[in-house]
Symmetry: C2
Subunit: 251 residues, 2 copies
DNA sequence: TTCCTCCGGTCATCGTACAAGTTGCCCAAC
DNA sequence: GTTGGGCAACTTGTACGATGACCGGAGGAA
């Protein structure tokens, strides 16, 4: 047994995210930057120096720097050196999935989503073209159809929300909602937790009522009502999630 | 003619962001993925195949893949291959600074910020600890001091907003606001555009009045009023920016 | 059938070499 | 002394080859 259990199942692999030399080197350099020891505009050590400091080959150093370049943290200039990016406008917004362990983390993301969607609903009520209003109502109908065929309707649910975000005439809203949607965890799991079919039907019917109210506010060009309806809907979602989490424990 | 005019001055270099072989290779592969030709979970071509297809060395291919790995788009497994990430939870949210040319783009980001901050103000009114309320009012005082010494108070302005985001008891709000703050363009430029010192003073005084109303709503634990005050403040900002942009043309 | 071993393929890391670009220094010319 | 050109050293960009670590399947042994 030359190595301590590295045949671990996928689950443990996830927790220790396969840190190879490149990742570690990139993390080390990034720490120097974020820690302020390498201020914006400062020049990084040369590849040779980093090779010596980190004890790795040039390949590893270059791949690490390449990763930081993609991240927007570093810019390189041939013949001159590598520099900490002077303006951080290229550094993206991340939500680390590893740091999303607790229920509180999930609720935090849901609150962010609420903030976005409440405003999106209002903007949609103000600006949606007739076609976009049609898309919202169509998404509502599609979800009804999914429910009718005993589906969990998870995808249709999200599509309804996305239709609203798209109706804001502001591309940032659907893009950011798409991003958050990847983190607003296990809707599947939440719904799966509702074992009782009757309970499941009532749950979906309630969502549909809430959706309908939102859609009608948008169709009726009533931003204030759209805001209120969307807020109520998402607050209910948060409450439902919190209750399920308390009942079943962290998952 | 081996290379078309690449002796462009630094200014032009900025516009065409220094596309070396690695960047181009990474963009090519990323396009395959985002275009759906490489669906999630699919295996990428081997390094050898990509070398042949892209006509570059292995170094370049590896650095490109390293960049995509950092981006969360690809995961590699030694001995097995490189794969399109099955779940996109690591893919971050980006606002491409290159695509932020027009006034409309800037306004879109400001609307996103409005959505976040309106909700943040309400949450702060609900949840802020006494110390956090103190921090908000302290930020307001700091801005007053900056104005008194004829400063543009750009930083103090942002610090006030950040103090509110921090008072939400939800770390996502300050983090996301920090991110957006890097894109909410040239506040410096907007303020610099106000040449007249008297006009400048009135402008800052008005902001301070708006800030004060927000701060008092938070201190008074009135979420609805905090929402209203923050919305009014940021709508004014948007209007001011739009007016300046119309007056001075796109910058 | 089940288990083990082996082997080819693949990524990970290392090392070297050269090309391309930058910077500062030296030195000649004025 | 100042200025300008050009050279030299240094740094990143690209290419290539070699070896190690790891995976997955083929094939053989029990």
């Amino acid at each position: 047994m030359p190595k301590p259990g590295n045949g671990a199942p996928t689950l443990l692999r996830r927790l220790r995210p396969a840190r190879n030399l490149t990742d570690r080197a990139a993390a080390d350099i990034a720490a120097e930057i974020r820690g302020g020891r390498l201020p914006p505009g400062a020049r990084l050590p040369t590849e040779q120096e980093m090779m010596a400091t980190l004890g790795v080959s040039r390949t590893v150093v270059r791949e690490a720097v390449s990763a930081l370049r993609a991240e927007g943290l570093v810019v390189t200039r041939q013949g001159s050196g590598a520099f900490v990016a002077a303006d951080a406008t290229r550094v993206p917004f991340r939500i680390d999935p590893e740091a999303m362990g607790t229920i509180a983390d999930a609720l935090n993301v849901m609150e962010l989503r609420l903030a976005i969607e409440v405003e999106a609903a209002a903007l949609a009520a103000e600006r949606a073209t007739p076609a976009q209003v049609g898309a919202v109502m169509g998404a509502h109908a599609a979800m009804a159809a999914a429910i009718a065929r005993e589906d969990t309707a998870v995808n249709e649910d999200f599509l309804f929300h996305r239709a609203i975000a798209s109706a804001t005439a502001n591309a940032q809203f659907p893009q950011f909602l798409e991003f958050l949607g990847r983190h607003v965890i296990p809707r599947q799991r939440v719904r799966a937790a509702i074992a009782n079919p009757k309970e499941q039907r009532e749950y979906l019917a309630r969502i549909q009522r809430e959706h309908l109210r939102i859609g009608q506010a948008i169709k009726g060009r009533d931003p204030a009502d759209a805001r209120k309806a969307m807020r109520a809907h998402l607050l209910n979602s948060i409450t439902r999630y919190r209750r399920l989490a308390e009942r079943d424990g962290p998952a």
